[in-house]
């Protein structure tokens, strides 16, 4: 879902200082294992898991959520997955493939891990696909949503426990086609792979369902601080609703400016769920109330697994879990289930076990299954409302199941 932003290096390169900055910008570090031990004690033996999450750069908050969820799962399961005692080796993904790919390679060759979990950035996932296939190690992706990862550029060892970019947009497109907002829908997204995939998926379902596009704008990714020039075109377009895909810092700026330019009350805002997920929601504050988004998770989903999960997560870390935490939780969950079925830890055996899983019934997001190597799960229509402890994404309705 996310790609690297304009880095310090790119910015300065313009002024001919690229060489000087080249070594300065990347502070990648590889953390040591935190579940020390890992000797082959216990009945089922031991497994080395490489957890690769961002610990540096703009995606650090996601990395924190992901590691929290992973640790929580292991804590609750005595440090075991499928009968194997787990040794976790944490590596820093950084922002982009320039740090992510070497980190994955390090885990494979130096640390000799059995299984990899994590990856926020789709480019890092795509960039390391070859190395993973060559090493025959299973990677369970806990975020990276580019369709190609488990689509065109698929390989048998890369599985995804998160989502793909098209799902939320497709679901929202169908929903808005049913609503038929007068004047059509205005589309906005950052100009990079995930934004473009969102456009394509939304149009496929929305225009296919009889809706009209009032206008669209792809904003420069990573360099747009001020959305006013693009937002000012919306009233003139006569749009009855706006659908956007933004996340992180851009989501905060966008939602606040959408409200402060008076658009929030006249043209309702819809989005892919990352628009109002996690820490960005807090920063958006009042401006976010009433925004409706589609996503595969909300803390407010009512099922026993979710209430248990939310309570445990809040108890351990004193914050509400995010979809990023759930995705990592589910990565641990599918590995737990699959490893219980395998004879050995080779990539082929683990892959075969993952393939044979069928429905994963006790996930916090609700029941889901692998469609190909990516989840088929329920998309929820969520609305931002004032809750007891701040803003929350209330589930309005289920939009149905969506797959690869």
């Amino acid at each position: 879902m996310m790609q690297p932003v304009l880095s310090r290096r790119n910015a300065l390169g313009v002024f001919g200082l690229a060489g000087l900055a080249a070594t300065a910008g990347c502070g990648s570090s590889v953390g040591g294992g935190d579940n020390g031990g890992g000797s082959s004690s216990g009945g089922g033996g031991a497994i080395k898991v490489g957890l690769i999450v961002p610990q540096d750069g703009v995606y650090t908050p996601l990395g924190v959520d992901m590691k929290n969820a992973w640790d929580l799962y292991l804590d609750q399961h005595d440090g075991m997955l499928g009968g194997y005692e787990v040794e976790t080796i944490v590596a820093d993904e950084g922002e982009g493939p320039d740090t992510g790919v070497p980190a994955i390679q390090g885990l494979i060759t130096r640390d000799n891990v059995d299984v990899l979990v994590g990856i926020v950035n789709s480019a890092s996932a795509l960039g390391s696909a070859e190395a993973i296939a060559a090493a025959k190690k299973v990677l369970v992706i806990a975020n990276a949503g580019a369709n190609a990862v488990t689509g065109d550029a698929r390989n048998p060892y890369i599985w995804r426990a998160s989502f793909n970019n098209a799902q939320a947009a497709f679901a929202m497109g169908e929903y808005l086609a049913g609503q038929q907002p007068e004047g059509g829908v205005y589309l906005m997204a950052p100009d990079y792979a995930a934004g473009q995939e969102t456009f394509v998926a939304f149009k496929e379902s929305y225009v296919g369902g009889g809706g009209t596009i009032a206008g669209e704008a792809l904003t420069p990714f990573g360099t747009t601080q001020d959305f006013q020039p693009f937002l000012s075109a919306i009233p003139g377009s006569g749009a009855g609703a706006t659908f956007v895909f933004y996340s992180g810092g851009e989501a905060v700026s966008f939602v606040q400016q959408y409200a402060s330019l008076g658009l929030k009350d006249s043209v309702p805002l819809y989005g892919s769920g990352f628009l109002t997920e996690g820490s960005v929601l807090e920063a958006q504050g009042e401006a976010a109330v009433g925004i409706q988004t589609a996503l595969h998770y909300s803390t407010e989903i009512e099922n026993p697994a979710n209430s248990e999960f939310v309570e445990a997560y809040q108890g351990a870390y004193d914050v509400l879990p995010t979809c990023f935490a759930v995705q990592t939780w589910d990565a641990a969950l599918v590995l737990d289930l699959a490893l219980a079925e395998t004879e050995d830890l080779t990539g082929d055996s683990v892959s075969a076990a993952l393939e044979g899983l069928g429905e994963i019934s006790d996930s916090p997001r609700g029941p889901w299954s692998f469609d190909g190597q990516s989840p088929k799960h329920i998309e929820y229509l969520r609305e931002v409302q004032e809750g007891d402890g701040g803003l929350i994404n209330v589930v309005v309705e289920e939009l149905g199941e969506y797959g690869q």
Binding site: V5, L6, S7, R8, A11, L12, V14, F15, L17, L20, A21, A24, G25, G27, G57, V58, T60, P61, D191, A217, T219, P220, T223, T224, Q225, D226, Q228, P229, F230, S232, A233, G236, G248, G249, V252, S253, Q256, A259, S260, L261, G262, L263, S279, V280, E282, A283, Q284, G285
Partner: protein, 295 residues
């Protein structure tokens, strides 16, 4: 024509607001670069400090006392940081821009990392003070009141800076240093003091710009690079060492960033550098930079 104006009124207004902010940010960089030939790549980090000072003292609550305290604290912080940078770059005088860039960029990286350690990497929101944290109607368009106020603040600061530089003896000294550093030394003025003063003043403005820009851009990691880039483009367009140049450059970039993107959204990515390239082709020393030989 009037219809065109009405359609794009908000964009033009917004261009002025962004231009004001850019002027406050860039004028210090321009004076330091133009005058002492010091390329301070730590300028963006000073803005970032200001932004986080703003966040620290307002903390998501709209209050005048918090906002004004933040402004005062940022001003002091900025001035002290400017003095430190001035002293730190002193030994590098005459060793070329690359050494200065290396030092100030290193400082900027350290500052950005320290801020990230203290405040984390979450995006933080800075709320405008009461009365300004809402939107008002301007000729039938809804527009944030804070940004309107920003235009006023920018105008006032521009006039003050212009008066100081153009109409006072201190300003004369600064202008003389811009024009011919050696000659100013030769008549018995300690160059280093002038430089330290300008450095402190420019850095103070950068930190103040961070607080002022908080309600527009927020506070988050990576913002330092973005604003440094904008400031560099502004001073290259305006010409080094000139208050007027910084003002015109800031207003031009403000409109390019706002009106330009609104009119030609498809070219949004190239617009900033397109304007830069155009100016460099037509006026290689910037619009108002003809007097200065720096660079």
């Amino acid at each position: 024509m009037t219809e065109w104006f009405a359609d794009n009124f908000v964009s033009i207004l917004n261009g002025l607001a962004i231009g004001s902010l850019l002027f406050i940010l860039a004028v210090g960089l321009s004076l330091v670069f133009g005058m002492m030939d010091v390329l301070n790549l730590g300028h963006g980090a000073l803005y970032l400090i200001g932004a986080y000072v703003g966040y620290q003292f307002t903390g998501g609550v709209s209050s005048w006392s918090g906002f004004l305290t933040a402004l005062a604290v940022a001003a002091v912080f900025g001035a002290v940081a400017g003095l430190i940078l001035s002293v730190a770059t002193q030994p590098l005088v005459g060793r070329g821009h690359l050494d200065q860039a290396l030092l100030t960029l290193g400082v900027a990286l350290v500052v950005a990392e320290v801020i990230s350690i203290i405040f984390g990497d979450d995006v933080q929101n800075v709320v405008a003070p009461p009365g300004l944290n809402e939107s008002i109607q301007v000729f039938g368009n809804t527009y944030p009141a804070y940004r309107l106020a920003l235009i006023g603040v920018g105008a006032v600061l521009a006039i003050i800076v212009w008066l100081v530089i153009e109409k006072t003896s201190l300003g004369a000294l600064i202008r003389a240093s811009v024009s011919d550093r050696e000659m100013v030394s030769a008549v018995g003025v300690d160059n280093r003091k002038v430089k330290a003063g300008v450095f402190a003043f420019g850095s103070m403005l950068a930190a103040v710009a961070g607080v002022l820009g908080g309600p527009v851009y927020g506070a988050r990691t990576g913002l330092d690079e973005t604003v440094l880039l904008l400031a560099l483009v502004v001073i290259v367009i305006g010409g080094l060492g000139s208050v007027r140049g910084a003002l015109i450059g800031a207003l031009v970039i403000g409109q390019v960033e706002s009106l330009g993107k609104a009119l030609y959204p498809d070219f949004a990515s190239f617009m900033l550098f397109g304007a830069l390239a155009l100016v460099l082709i037509v006026r290689p020393r910037g619009l108002f930079g003809s007097r200065v030989g720096a660079g």
